[in-house]
Amino acid sequence: MKLKEVEEKYRDEWVLAEVLKEDESGEPTELKVIAHSKNRDDTYDAMKKVKGKYSYHFYTGKIPEEGYAVAFYVKI
């Protein structure tokens, strides 16, 4: 499946997919979905099970959700 197709089919979910093809910037263009869930822990668990496979883990929804602002900040 194309990345856009995965994002549309599994909207607002975490997806773990095997990377079949990617462009020169490393953006996956062809994927095979391994697992998908609203709960990130489910796809993390799937990641452990398919360790060794070249896979991509990502969220398909809008970041941030409606009504949220983003403030990532880590100073050491």
Binding site: G26, M47, K48, A71, Y73, V74
Partner: protein
Amino acid sequence: MHSMSKFRFNTKAPVIMLTILLEGKGNSKQKIRMALDTGATYTMISWKTAEILGLEPELSKERIEIITASGVEKAPLITLRSIVVLGKRIERVEAVVHDLPPKSYVDGLLGIKSLVELKLKIDFSEGILEV
């Protein structure tokens, strides 16, 4: 001479998301989405991602205090074999292991130290990243 590559990003998006390949111990690797964060000193990855990459963050002797929106915490510092961002590889990348809240919807942050190594140029008016 190294040739520069340009990539477009959406200037209206509240977060710049990048697809990044992380390489850990042995041949372990994982592709994830990270937020480009000029407010973060270090690159940050989640505990689960670090474990999948065989990095054993719980055994790391280096712990550093991190200041987050919710307070000060001690987090392990690990070294990734390499990361590949926008087609460019950076070897031996130090990263803090810390879980971002589930509602952040990202697996990690690409911080200043990595951005400097990458020699990344950001043009916010045109929406161009150059490496």
